[in-house]
């Protein structure tokens, strides 16, 4: 098993004819993802990597996609997401970065109304090793297994997943939640799904400064999660008021500091690593227990 994305995924790529769309269509296929159609308005009828390109999502529905990945540039991304949701696609992964907040908050709420799972925006996607990849993660770092990973940061996830795989610890699903202030799925959604996933035995959370998602996750862990949870938080040395790359990674009015997140996790019984590589060591040492 896996959460949200498995071998039953029939993927639609919106924005397939762009540089990123093309490149990652190929990479996802190499990973084993079943890509059934692409969409780029104005480019319908063409072909990318053997995938048929359609004018609209409605037209592409003849290929029965059940998930969509968005590579559409920021000014048009909101429209593309709503088009997917209006065609009853129930899993939408938004890779695009720099989407205006008011657009993101609109489609995030619309996805909820449509009872769809929306991952991102500004995220690396979701991977269930051996089953499917809807995203831009490098293919070779993953290894199938029993650890679920949920992260707000892209490359930091590569770093941690790579260490896990090298230590012989495989992953059930890795999901990049995205670095923006408002995202579709958050830590609580991922924790809830991992708790119910029979295959997942332990959970890794990769957080960062900004917002209170980690503090809320800690509360949820205390109440609802029986599986061991490990965490790493980036931005312990970030100053207040400076946006550290991600739109969401900012400490404002003393809130959203790494320390408050680390404290909250520790209080909830979560083991917190000092370096990204420590996660793999911690799990390796504990694996005999769980």
């Amino acid at each position: 098993m896996a959460i949200w994305a498995d071998e039953k995924i029939r993927l639609l790529v919106q924005g397939i004819t762009g540089h990123q769309g093309k490149f990652h269509t190929k990479a996802m296929r190499e990973f084993g993802t079943k890509i059934v159609a692409g969409v780029t308005p104005g480019k319908g009828g063409t072909n990318i990597e053997g995938v048929q390109v359609y004018e609209s999502v409605e037209d592409a529905m003849e290929m029965r996609p059940n998930a969509s990945i968005i590579f559409v540039p920021a000014p048009y991304a909101c429209d593309a997401v709503i088009e997917a949701l209006d065609n009853d696609i129930k899993l939408v992964v938004v890779i695009t970065e720099n989407i205006p907040f008011h657009d993101a908050i609109k489609f995030v709420n619309y996805a909820k109304y449509k009872e769809a799972t929306l991952i991102g925006p500004n995220c690396p996607g979701i991977v269930s090793p051996g089953k499917t990849k809807i995203g831009i993660f490098p293919n070779h770092i993953f290894k199938g297994g029993n650890v679920g990973v949920a992260s707000r940061s892209g490359t930091l996830t590569y770093e941690i997943v790579n260490e896990l795989s090298m230590a012989g610890i495989g992953q059930s699903t890795c999901v990049g939640l995205g670095g923006d202030p408002v995202t579709g799925t958050n830590f609580i959604d991922a924790l809830d799904a991992f708790e119910r996933d029979e295959e997942t035995e332990a959970i890794v959370l990769v957080g960062e400064i900004g917002g209170t998602a980690e503090e809320e996750a800690a509360e949820f862990i205390e109440k609802k999660i029986s599986k061991p949870v490990y965490a790493y938080i980036a931005g312990r040395t970030a100053p207040e008021g400076k946006r550290m790359g991600h739109a969401g990674a900012i400490i404002s009015a003393g809130k959203g500091t790494a320390n408050s997140k680390i404290e909250a996790f520790k209080k909830a019984g979560v083991k917190v690593a000092r370096f990204p590589s420590e996660i793999a060591e911690m799990i390796k040492n504990d694996k005999k227990i769980w």
């Binding site: 907040f101 008011h102 490098p138 892209g154 490359t155 930091l156 991600h246 969401g248 990204p276």
Partner: protein, 354 residues
Amino acid sequence: MKLLEYQGKELFKSYGIPVPKGEVIEKKDDFKKISNPLPWVLKAQVLVGGRGKAGGIKIAESVEEAERIFDEMVVKGVKGEKVRKILVEEKIGIDKEYYLSFFIDRSSKQYLMMFCSEGGVEIESIAEKVKKMYVNPLVGLQNYHLRKIPQEARGIAKNLFRLFIEKDCELAEINPLIISNGRAIAGDAKIIVDNNAIYRHEELPNEFVELSSLEKEAREKNIAFVQLDGNIGVIANGAGLTMATLDALNEFNGKGGVFLDLGGTDDVEKVKQAFELMAKANQKVILINLFGGITKCDTVAKGIVEFMKERNISQPVVARIKGINEEEAKKMLKDYVITANSLEEAAKKAVEVI
């Protein structure tokens, strides 16, 4: 992008939100042109909170006094910020002061209206007295929301919400919202416009006044760059990995001076631009931490080597390269940098080499 108070008040006027009569001046001579009768309220146009307490808001009873205050503000600055413009406003009678704002609430994924029957103070200090009302983005502000605040503030709240949406604001705040002779007037304006949405607002002033000159240059080149107060410049790919690298330095008693996220690039020129910025930032050591996915390691290595050949870099460069094409990259960099195999090792070496 944060707007200065006078810029925010210009916006207010166009949305039918009343503001005190005022004019902006840049030099002392301009006081002679002010048509408002004395006394005046002089407000330094800077982007820092708690401006009043820091001497950035003063009342002048005469032109001479105004000139004295002008000199003082310009020489001293306010909370470390230079004062380039001063807003000269009429003094209005205050019967009551409220607080009103709209912003995006991350946890609930809703808009949030905050109202408080006490204004003019830092909102954090009266947080428990603040009324919070969630507004669903799919349906917008409703009349029932407005009925929860006093009658005289409702018109302004409605207009402020419209401005908040139409101008893509992260925050639209009026503190204080002044009630004077039964009329509501915006005493101050704090507007933060979402940088991601600036492309659709050519009508807004496009000045990044809050950035340092290097940060501005980086923004123009589309590189995430933040100046910090240490002496080790960090270049990594991805915001999370860059932050993690800065944190690792701290574990070995080092201190990062630059956060530079190279992002997902496969462009030699961009790498060189990043190095150019880093060279200007004058750091004691440059630390590169790369986990190539979209970004290819050999592309970055090529950029580094070309830059180092063209320009003399006096400071040592420590590099940890991992991911796509790392072997080629390591070979290319061998004679130019101090190599490391892990994030921890790289951080340790960077601190030791100072």
